[in-house]
C-alpha cells in the first residue's frame, strides 16, 4: 500500500512539474470548449447568390426580389453573362447562381414548361445541398402565390438544379432534370372559371431532446468525450514510454515491486486526473453552454470511470509495445482519428456502411458517446445504457489484462 501511495505521489509531482503536460491538461480542454462549439457548426448562415435574368420580366424581377427578404441570402446582383458567373464562382465570390431563361414569363402564361437553372458550388456538398433547397423553397413559395393569383392561366415551372464543382474541368451535375414542381392548378383546364383554393399543407416540426436544433448540444458532449479520451489514452501512452526513454524504468524494474503495483501506481493518478477533467467539463457545459445533465449524474460518472479505465489500459498497452514517445504518439493519433470519425461524435453513424458498423463494435468511443448523449441529452436510465456499460466493462478488463501482460520486466 505504501508502495502504491508513493508511486501515486511521484506521478502527481511529475505531472505538476511538467509545464507542457500541465498545459495540455488545463489549456487544451479550455480551448476546445471555448472555440470548438462556436465554430464547428453545420448551420449555413450566409449564402452569396447572383442572378442572370435573360427574361427581364416582372415575374423574374419579383422572384429575385423575394430573395432579398431572406436572412440567409446575400444578393451579389444581376450578372450579364454565364462567363462572368463562372469566374465569380471560381473565385468564391458567389455560392449560388439562379438563371432565368428568356421568355420565362411568357412561357408561364402560355402554360409551357420552363426551367430555372440553379447552379451551386458543391465543393462543400452540405452547403450546396442546403443552398439549392432554400432556393427551391423560395421559388416554390413564389410560384404557389403566383398560381393562387393567376389560377386561370395554366402554367408550370420546373426548376433544374445543377451543381457544379468549382474546379475548372470537373463539373458534375446533380440531377440535371431536377425535381419537377408542378403547381396543383397546372392540370386544371383553361376554361375553368371558379378555381378551387389551392391546398396548402404546412408541416411543423418538433425536435425532441434538442428543441432548438442547436448544434452545440451535439458538439459539447462530443468534446467531453474527446477530452476524457485524450487524458486517458494520450497522456498515459506518453508517460510510460517516457520512463523507458530516460531509463528510469530499468531502475524501477530492478526493485522488487510487482508490475501490477507499478501499473496501478500509474493508473490511479491518471484516472483521477481524467475524472477531474470530466467534472470540469461538466461544469463548463452547464454554466457556459447551459446544457445540464438530464439523467443521473452518478450513473454518468460511473460509466465515465469505466471508459477511462479502457483508455488508460489502451494507453499503457501502446506505450509498452512502443520504443519511444514518437512511436506511441503516432499509434495514439491513428487510433484517435479512427475512433472519432467512426464513433458518431460529430457525424451521424446511421449513414455508415455495414462494415463500418461492425468495426464500431471494437470502438470504445462509439459506445461511450452513445452513453453520453443518452444520459446528458435524453436523461436515459441505466436500462437503456446497460448494453454500452457491459461492453465497456468487458473492454476494460481485456485491455488492462493485455497491458499488464505486455509490460515486460525483463527483455528477451
Amino acid at each position: 500500500m505504501r508502495t502504491i501511495l508513493i508511486l501515486i505521489k511521484k506521478e502527481f509531482l511529475q505531472v505538476f512539474r511538467n509545464p507542457l503536460l500541465l498545459s495540455i491538461l488545463v489549456v487544451a480542454p479550455m480551448v476546445e470548449f471555448m472555440i470548438f462549439p462556436f465554430c464547428a457548426d453545420y448551420e449555413i448562415k450566409v449564402l452569396n447568390i447572383a442572378f442572370i435574368d435573360n427574361d427581364r420580366s416582372q415575374i423574374s424581377k419579383d422572384i429575385i426580389h423575394s430573395f432579398n427578404s431572406s436572412d440567409i441570402f446575400v444578393s451579389k446582383g444581376l450578372l450579364t453573362s454565364k462567363k462572368e458567373a463562372d469566374e465569380k464562382m471560381k473565385h468564391d465570390k458567389i455560392d449560388l447562381l439562379v438563371e432565368f431563361p428568356s421568355h420565362f414569363e411568357e412561357s408561364l402564361y402560355k402554360n409551357e414548361p420552363t426551367v430555372i437553372a440553379v447552379t451551386a458550388n458543391a465543393i462543400n456538398s452540405v452547403k450546396a445541398g442546403i443552398g439549392t433547397g432554400y432556393v427551391q423553397e423560395i421559388i416554390g413559395g413564389y410560384m404557389q402565390d403566383f398560381a393562387a393569383a393567376n389560377t386561370p392561366s395554366n402554367m408550370s415551372a420546373a426548376i433544374a438544379q445543377q451543381a457544379s464543382m468549382q474546379s475548372n474541368s470537373a463539373s458534375f451535375s446533380q440531377g440535371e432534370d431536377g425535381e419537377r414542381q408542378s403547381n396543383s392548378s397546372a392540370v386544371m383546364p383553361a376554361q375553368t372559371i371558379t378555381p378551387p383554393m389551392p391546398i396548402r399543407i404546412n408541416i411543423s416540426n418538433i425536435y425532441w431532446y434538442n428543441e432548438q436544433m442547436n448544434y452545440k448540444n451535439l458538439i459539447v458532449p462530443g468534446i467531453l468525450v474527446i477530452l476524457v479520451t485524450l487524458i486517458g489514452c494520450y497522456v498515459t501512452a506518453l508517460n510510460l514510454v517516457r520512463e523507458k526513454e530516460i531509463g528510469t524504468i530499468e531502475q524501477v524494474n530492478v526493485t522488487p515491486i510487482r508490475r501490477w503495483q507499478f501499473l496501478l501506481g500509474k493508473m490511479i493518478p491518471f484516472w483521477l486526473l481524467g475524472m477531474a477533467e470530466f467534472g470540469a467539463g461538466l461544469i463548463i457545459m452547464k454554466f457556459v453552454f447551459g446544457i445540464s445533465v438530464q439523467g443521473s449524474l452518478p450513473l454518468l460518472l460511473g460509466i465515465t470511470a469505466i471508459y477511462l479505465l479502457v483508455m488508460l489500459g489502451l494507453g499503457f498497452f501502446i506505450s509498452s509495445v512502443s520504443e519511444n514517445q514518437l512511436q506511441s504518439m503516432f499509434i495514439v493519433l491513428f487510433l484517435f482519428i479512427v475512433f472519432v470519425l467512426l464513433s458518431g461524435v460529430f457525424t451521424p453513424t446511421e449513414g455508415m456502411p455495414g462494415w463500418a458498423h461492425k468495426i464500431n463494435y471494437l470502438n470504445p468511443m462509439s459506445f461511450y458517446i452513445e452513453v453520453i448523449k443518452k444520459i446528458i441529452l435524453k436523461g436515459s436510465e441505466f436500462e437503456s445504457v446497460m448494453r454500452e456499460t457491459i461492453v465497456l466493462s468487458v473492454m476494460a478488463v481485456i485491455i488492462n489484462t493485455g497491458a499488464v501482460l505486455s509490460y515486460r520486466e525483463a527483455s528477451k
Partner: protein, 306 residues
C-alpha cells in the same frame, strides 16, 4: 561463499549479434570485482543479465545461490544497481528520488543512513534541487545513494565513472572502498584500465569472451614482454614504419607515447631496434623500460603475440 556464480552463459541479439560467448565467472563475497573491457565487449549485457533485466539464451547464473531467472524477485531485493546512464527521475528533487527508491525497496532513509552517510553528506546541501539539474558527479553520488538505500548484499555499477572528471572519479572510487566495510560485494565495469588496479580482482572481457580473471597485480606479473616507452614527433609515420620491424614485438600508441613490448632477448634486441629506427629516419626520445599497466597487459592478451 561465492556472491556470483556464472556457468556457460550465452547471449545473442536478434539471432545475429553475439554479445556473450560461454561466460564462466565466480565472484567472491565481499570483494570489489572489476569487469574491464572496451566498449561493445559485452559488459552491459552481462550486467543486465545479472540484474534480472535481460534473459540469457543459455547458462546458469546465481547471485547468492539464487537463480536470476527463477528467483528474480528475491534477487532484486538483495541487489543494488547503478545503470550506465543516469536513470533517476530528473524532475524529482534529490530528497524525493531517495524517498521514492527507499519505499520501492520497503526500506527507509533512516534505517540505512549509516551506509549512505558519507555520500549523503556531500549531496544533502542540494536535497531540494531537481536531480536533472545536478552536476555529473553529483548525479552519480545520488544514484549511488538510491542503489544503496536498501542495504543490498551486492552492488552492480555499470561504468559509473564514464564521463566523470578525474577528481570525481578518484572520489567515487574512495566511496566504493568505504562501501565494502558494510559487507557489500561490489561488481563494477569500466573501460578505464587505470581504474582496474583499484579492484581486488578483474575480469578482462573482449568480444563477449572473458580472456582472464586475476587480481590486477597477478595480471601485471603475468606480463611476458619487455615494455619500453618513447616519444615521437610523428606517431603516425612511426606506426607505419614499425610494420616492417623484424623484431617480435607489440607496438601501440599510449597517450603521447609509443609503447613497445618486446619478446626478445633485450641485450641484442635493443641495439637492433635503435638501428632500425635510425635507418627509417624516425627521430625519438630516449627509449626507457617501464612497468606495464593493466592496459598493456590487456593489449598483450588481446594481440596474443607472445
Amino acid at each position: 561463499m561465492s556472491a556470483i556464480s556464472i556457468r556457460g552463459v550465452n547471449k545473442t541479439y536478434d539471432g545475429k549479434v553475439v554479445a556473450l560467448k560461454d561466460i564462466n565467472l565466480e565472484v567472491e563475497e565481499g570483494e570489489v570485482f572489476g569487469l574491464v573491457g572496451p566498449d561493445g565487449a559485452g559488459k552491459s549485457t552481462l550486467f543486465n543479465i545479472l540484474t534480472t533485466l535481460l534473459l540469457p539464451d543459455a547458462g546458469d547464473i546465481r547471485v547468492f545461490q539464487m537463480d536470476v531467472i527463477r528467483d528474480y524477485k528475491a534477487v532484486r531485493q538483495i541487489i543494488g544497481y547503478l545503470p550506465g546512464t543516469f536513470s533517476l527521475y530528473p524532475d524529482l528533487s534529490v530528497q524525493e528520488n531517495l524517498d521514492f527508491f527507499a519505499v520501492m525497496y520497503k526500506s527507509s532513509i533512516e534505517e540505512n543512513m549509516n551506509i549512505i552517510e558519507p555520500i549523503w553528506k556531500q549531496i544533502s546541501p542540494f536535497k531540494d534541487r531537481k536531480a536533472g539539474k545536478l552536476s555529473g558527479g553529483m548525479k552519480q553520488k545520488l544514484a549511488l545513494c538510491c542503489a544503496l538505500i536498501h542495504r543490498p548484499r551486492i552492488l552492480f555499477l555499470d561504468e559509473p565513472t564514464t564521463g566523470v572528471d578525474p577528481v570525481s572519479r578518484k572520489e567515487f572510487w574512495d566511496i566504493l572502498k568505504s562501501i565494502r566495510q558494510h559487507d557489500i560485494t561490489v561488481v563494477v565495469s569500466t573501460p578505464y584500465m587505470d581504474e582496474a588496479t583499484r579492484c581486488d580482482r578483474i575480469a578482462l572481457i573482449q568480444d563477449g569472451e572473458i580472456i582472464g580473471v586475476n587480481p590486477p597485480q597477478t595480471i601485471i606479473q603475468n606480463f611476458k614482454g619487455h615494455l619500453y616507452t618513447f616519444k615521437s614527433d610523428d606517431i603516425f609515420s612511426l606506426l607505419q614504419v614499425m610494420e616492417q620491424c623484424p623484431l617480435r614485438c607489440n607496438y601501440y600508441p599510449y597517450g603521447e607515447h609509443c609503447h613497445v613490448a618486446f619478446y626478445e632477448d633485450m641485450e641484442t634486441a635493443m641495439p637492433q631496434f635503435e638501428r632500425f629506427l635510425e635507418e627509417h629516419q624516425q627521430p625519438h626520445s630516449e627509449i626507457t623500460a617501464i612497468q606495464p599497466s593493466v592496459e598493456d597487459c590487456f593489449i598483450e592478451i588481446v594481440k596474443g603475440k607472445t
